[in-house]
Symmetry: C3
Subunit: 273 residues, 3 copies
Amino acid sequence: MITLASDFGAPYPAAMKGVVRRRSDAELIDASHDLPRGDPHAAAFWLRFVLPEFPPAVHCAVVDPGVGTDRAAIVVLAGEHAVVAPDNGLAVPPARALAAATGADSEELEVFEIAVDDPTSATFHGRDVFAPAAARIREDAWTGTGVDREALAALPSLTPADEYVDRRFPEPTVERDGEAVVAVAGEVLVVDDFGNAITNVPADAVAAVEPGDRVRVNGGDPVPFVETFASVPQGDRLVTVGSHGHVECDVNDGRGTDAFGVDAGDPVRLSFE
Amino acid sequence: MITLASDFGAPYPAAMKGVVRRRSDAELIDASHDLPRGDPHAAAFWLRFVLPEFPPAVHCAVVDPGVGTDRAAIVVLAGEHAVVAPDNGLAVPPARALAAATGADSEELEVFEIAVDDPTSATFHGRDVFAPAAARIREDAWTGTGVDREALAALPSLTPADEYVDRRFPEPTVERDGEAVVAVAGEVLVVDDFGNAITNVPADAVAAVEPGDRVRVNGGDPVPFVETFASVPQGDRLVTVGSHGHVECDVNDGRGTDAFGVDAGDPVRLSFE
Amino acid sequence: MITLASDFGAPYPAAMKGVVRRRSDAELIDASHDLPRGDPHAAAFWLRFVLPEFPPAVHCAVVDPGVGTDRAAIVVLAGEHAVVAPDNGLAVPPARALAAATGADSEELEVFEIAVDDPTSATFHGRDVFAPAAARIREDAWTGTGVDREALAALPSLTPADEYVDRRFPEPTVERDGEAVVAVAGEVLVVDDFGNAITNVPADAVAAVEPGDRVRVNGGDPVPFVETFASVPQGDRLVTVGSHGHVECDVNDGRGTDAFGVDAGDPVRLSFE
């Protein structure tokens, strides 16, 4: 299985599918081609969230504003998964999550650089570099149930990468009054298609907050902290922990970004009463 | 085969695909992930239209504004098809159409409730409830060519549902002058990506209207009733019976919603001269 | 393998998938369902670009503003590929590229007309004509590795087409001063999801332009002609040759259409200093 993810929209992904299918009969699954455009780090958030649901696979992910520069093309081995991507922060967060999901050590990733010879274009490495590499790995380094470490390392197009971009998501700051948590200051990492503003604040940072408690977002009027959207009337604001394990600022049947006046990258300070 | 449909846009459907693929090798087909957002009834219109084109399959459909509430999760058996969905009106209209398409009795549906134990999240049952249920049905209640009624009923996670949401689409009102139909009053059920305003008025309600006759929509200037878009000049308005068998208010190479000033849910009165 | 392409958005393509799956177990691959809406010629540009990446396949492509008129439905044989489409200019450009990619003569295409008997609708031939034809070809005229010419020609639903729409993309005009090229006048063929304005000017028309040279677009301020986006600062304009081999007017991490004030169909004059 090869999953495909990009910020390409349409129809560029079709070229990647054709390139893979010329080289491999492996199943192709579209993860998403609407990842945050030109933002590898935000895209990494989404892939970290969705890819660990898959059984071992080759994941070909392309959000590549630096295409045509000297940024490397890499493969990250994560348990029996491989993530093929530009070396710009896109690959490592999902690879850590894939490693953790398969019982491997998420801090001990093995990273290889893909040799890029004379690409057809300097603007579409999804077609010219990443899709061919994903197909080659699937054909030449697959055990039948996952990626084989030895076969991967033996591929002539790969060399161990001494350095690679290992960007972490920003940590929120917890403000305390004695023992009590009074606020958490973070930021909006991504916005989903529903307009939910998903923050870098993990569930455990708000573990002391009870459903029904009230939270202020950036000093605004207090809104309920709830377990699900439908806990508030339609059109009302809420703060909840989403299915990705992060705090999000939402509206039941509306757009949290509009109602809270926040967008991706904006600071979010959650204060508790 | 498992079809997937939702109002999730991207990238949430990828998590559902991974969840299925961990449990089943069945083919995955995306029906649509752009169903009318948060509107199970409008989404049911689309699924009623497209799903009967498929051979027997497990259809996993999630438009779920009530996620996290006590609304049930259900499976509707329709001939050799099964529809897995929240119990909010989404499942039954397509299930009736699937039953009819396979020669089964569309008024005698068998509905089961899915046991939901300790979901991982209260906000993403597509991943945590519906995708696993669809995979389980495909693995444990599949004859090779369709869903097996006995095997389905025997699944320990399913119990017969005594009650379920069986919401019908609203019927239009036919206004007569003696024998003659002078008007039909209905509403816009859904708007497609072309901007066509698709109504609840079925073809047989306008059976007496001839191609070339003129129709007023909500009392506006008369427009031609035609068999296809290209029967009118580019940019002109028209009324036709769409491929789903319903009357729609359209523009040839334009948006009917704009030209007629209507949107989903709005009343539409068609009057004939 | 059957690829599907259309301007349908969602959920109409699902009906086509179901129709194919009733008739064939062939793999289904979505090429794109967001082709330029109602514009077969612009859509042909994209299919000409992406389809040649695929191994031999049946390609079912529907951008069909003339649905319901007497425009024919055709199959174009291109090497071992077949393109099934309305006869409106959509099929031939990609078919030529497919023929060239497989070593066949791109000027000697074989074109068949599909008999259309009593379609279910006059508005959705994707479901009622093209998807069934694609499935039939895949089932009855497939060698195992590609489309078989003899079997295709023998299909009772097909007859040789004496005439078909063979619309070429407009050629740009090269303006010279003696030997030197001083300008190329063309037009924007399509705009991609990034806002890149892709022109009809092929790479060889600007072969004399060196990376780093400056180009004026429609008489505006000179911008750099570069090999890749990241050659200019974020937010800056550039002119480059895209992965499709055409000149495009772009912004690094922005929309070229906005920055250059051009859209699909607009004239573009590139002048060199």
